[in-house]
């Protein structure tokens, strides 16, 4: 009961946030230089034609009217058209979203699977070799921009060593993508037992997800480390030692569970890094996702997709943070019962 109340309370906070997000995305494109009517009409039309087009597109209406039309469009699933592909933005998005999700989730998984144990071990073996190595890896991961590590990884593993495939999308040339269930190639090929596609999809995913995953692993490992250092000194961990609870269970059970609150908080921030990093990594590896799409659109000043990308990332952010709030409540009874 208490949890349901908590859930609803959190959910009610999502709506004003979403309204704010639409206002900001709309205002951004409204105040940005460049006239959409000119972009649509092309450079060779007369000013009268532009005026006519503005009227047609509603650009002569006041700000709030335009905003209202925009929101009503978004609510009806109308995100406008892409000037470069000539298709509705929503359609382009739907087609590219699984690629982005696959890359993001794989990177997040890598960051968590490597970052959490690294942080725990750094805390448990404080100021030893493990701790120092963890620190160096962490600083390197943060300090090197992903476009550079991506290119470096390609140079070494594709060009020099030849162990990585050429950066040409999500699946090797000539291999049929698995039957679409979730849209994630790795998951779909697992579900359909298509081992050939699975191997190729994992192979293609390897370098981009490692590039992105290692770049966000560091903040996770550092947060786990610092929280664990504090918690390992806490009274209840000392009491657990004194009660003869086995070492592994004290560290990975009692202590790590209590360290998860700040770690989950940082996940929200890490998610932001991932979305930003996505756009860059996707273009380095020619990954057919929405980040790549947004960057291409940015190059061609195609405002519809950009606006929608910003809206979409903001929406994801709100959803992720909502999930994080719910996780807090699941993990910590003190928050749930407040």
């Amino acid at each position: 009961m208490a949890f349901l109340a908590y859930f609803l309370r959190r959910l009610s906070l999502v709506i004003p946030t979403l309204v704010g997000v639409t206002i900001i995305t709309f205002t951004l494109t409204y105040v940005l230089p460049g006239n959409p009517a000119v972009v649509k009409a092309g450079p060779l039309v007369s000013p009268e034609m532009v005026k006519e087009l503005e009227k047609q597109m509603g650009l002569d209406q006041p700000f709030w009217v335009q905003y209202g039309r925009y929101v009503s469009g978004v609510l009806h699933g109308d995100l406008g058209e892409s000037a470069s592909t000539g298709r509705p933005v929503l359609k382009d998005f739907k087609q590219r979203l699984p690629a982005t999700l696959e890359l993001t989730l794989a990177s997040l998984l890598i960051a968590l699977v490597l970052g959490i144990p690294l942080g725990v071990q750094s805390a448990v073996h404080r100021d030893t070799a493990i701790d120092h190595i963890g620190r160096i890896v962490g600083v390197a991961g943060v300090a090197m921009p992903t476009f550079w590590t991506g290119l470096l990884a390609l140079y070494v593993f594709f060009y020099l060593l030849g162990v990585a495939p050429p950066p040409l999308g999500r699946i090797g040339p000539g291999i049929e993508p698995p039957h679409a269930i979730t849209g994630l190639y790795v998951v779909d090929s697992l579900l359909t037992g298509n081992w050939k596609a699975l191997g190729s999809a994992l192979h293609q995913l390897m370098l981009p997800s490692l590039t992105l995953g290692l770049s966000v692993m560091a903040p996770i490992a550092r947060m786990v480390r610092s929280t664990m250092l504090e918690i390992l000194e806490s009274d209840y961990v000392k009491a657990a030692w004194a009660a003869g609870i086995p070492r592994r269970r004290v560290i990975y059970g009692d202590a790590l569970a209590n360290a998860m609150i700040p770690v989950i908080t940082i996940l929200g921030i890490v998610f932001g890094f991932l979305m930003a990093g996505n756009a860059v990594v996707e273009s380095v590896f020619a990954w057919p996702g929405i980040g790549n799409y947004a960057i291409t659109s940015l190059m061609t000043k195609d405002s519809g997709p950009i606006q929608s990308f910003v809206l979409f990332v903001a929406l994801l952010y709100v959803i992720v943070n909502f999930i994080i709030d719910i996780l807090y409540g699941l993990i910590d009874p003190r928050i749930r019962l407040e």
């Binding site: 806490s234 009274d235 209840y236 000392k238 009491a239 657990a240 030692w241 004194a242 009660a243 003869g244 609870i245 086995p246 070492r247 009692d254 569970a257 209590n258 993990i331 910590d332 009874p333 003190r334 019962l337």
Partner: protein, 326 residues
């Protein structure tokens, strides 16, 4: 009465930025079958460190540098970590001075007691739960069924301490170490917690090492007392003897500093403060505050001498009869 645990010449050193500090310098005492031994001393006298050393939980930058801790024929000072883990929580348990924060905030109180039964007694989850509720009832927690499903933050300090005691006695230990168990509790709660400890210790047959700086607690709760000063054990005596005939100059001063309501004796504070343990002279660490100090006190630490049955004191002046015990 035979000893449950014998601590002999235990020393603990801590590395600090300014050099090594010997926080416990050759402490020796035993806790006997069914008794409550009080371990008293000022803050920083090494009481808690001694307790931590008994559990072999001294961690860097500290280390156990010598001595033996014999429990049931085994020397804990020489056991490996795997074997120690089996001793902790089964044969020796601990109640800490911070009941509110010593319970894991994310696990229900009942589960924290129950998992000890699963871990140490091999009970099934359901049986362990039942036993946990029985334990909570035994330590006087009302509505134990309902309270077992709650979390530490829903308990008062006194109730948390009752839970800690339930956890400490769950596995029928031979020795329970209670490290200032009433710190931070109000006076009446503290008294009830001490009553509970005494009563349950008696019923379960666990011997108790009660660490405190409160001589009033010692007088009402303990059978025997060990007095520590600056990491050294200065006197061990039955509780009556200690209050009636304190021998070591430090103990005398301690006893004289207790306010009394039954006669017109002025309280006397002890001159000086606990000495810094950095670069301290090898002898008696009370030398700087002692009225009977002589040169050898600073050079060689006096050994424990039995001045009356069961009454041990470490002091040259008492040994020589210069400081007559009244």
């Amino acid at each position: 009465m035979s000893a449950v645990i014998e601590v002999r010449d235990v020393s603990v050193r801590f590395a600090t930025d300014f050099g090594e500090v010997e926080a416990v310098d050759g402490a020796s005492f035993e806790v006997r079958e069914g008794e409550i031994l009080g371990l008293v001393g000022e803050s920083g006298s090494g009481k808690s460190v001694t307790a931590t050393a008994i559990l072999r939980l001294i961690r860097r930058p500290g280390r156990l540098t010598g001595g033996s801790i014999v429990l049931g024929g085994r020397d804990l000072a020489r056991l490996g970590e795997d074997e120690l883990q089996k001793v902790r929580g089964t044969e020796i348990t601990m109640v800490s001075q911070t009941p509110r924060t010593a319970l894991n905030p994310l696990i229900t109180v009942g589960e924290q007691v129950a998992r000890l039964f699963v871990l140490h007694a091999g009970l099934s989850k359901a049986d362990a739960r039942k036993r946990a509720i029985e334990m909570l009832a035994m330590v006087g927690i009302p509505e134990p069924e309902r309270r077992a499903r709650q979390y530490a933050h829903q308990f008062s300090g006194g109730m948390c301490q009752r839970v800690m005691i339930a956890m400490a006695l769950a596995t029928s230990p031979r020795l329970l170490i209670a490290d200032e168990p009433t710190t931070g509790l109000d006076v009446s709660t503290a008294a009830r917690i001490l009553d509970l400890l005494r009563d349950l210790g008696h019923r379960t047959g666990a011997s108790i090492l009660l660490i405190t700086h409160d001589l009033g607690v010692v007088a009402t709760t303990c059978h025997r007392v060990a007095v520590m000063h600056a990491g050294q054990m200065v006197e061990v005596a039955p509780v009556r003897a200690l209050f009636a005939h304190p021998a070591h100059p430090y103990t005398r001063a301690l006893v004289r500093s207790i306010p009394r309501i039954d006669c017109e004796v002025a309280m006397e504070p002890i001159p000086g403060a606990v000495p810094s343990l950095l670069n301290i002279a090898p002898g008696c660490r009370y030398a700087g505050r002692c009225p009977w100090v002589e040169e050898r006190c600073r050079q060689i630490k006096p050994g424990m001498t039995e001045i009356a049955p069961d009454h041990l004191v470490a002091c040259y002046a008492v040994e020589d009869g210069r400081a007559r015990v009244v």
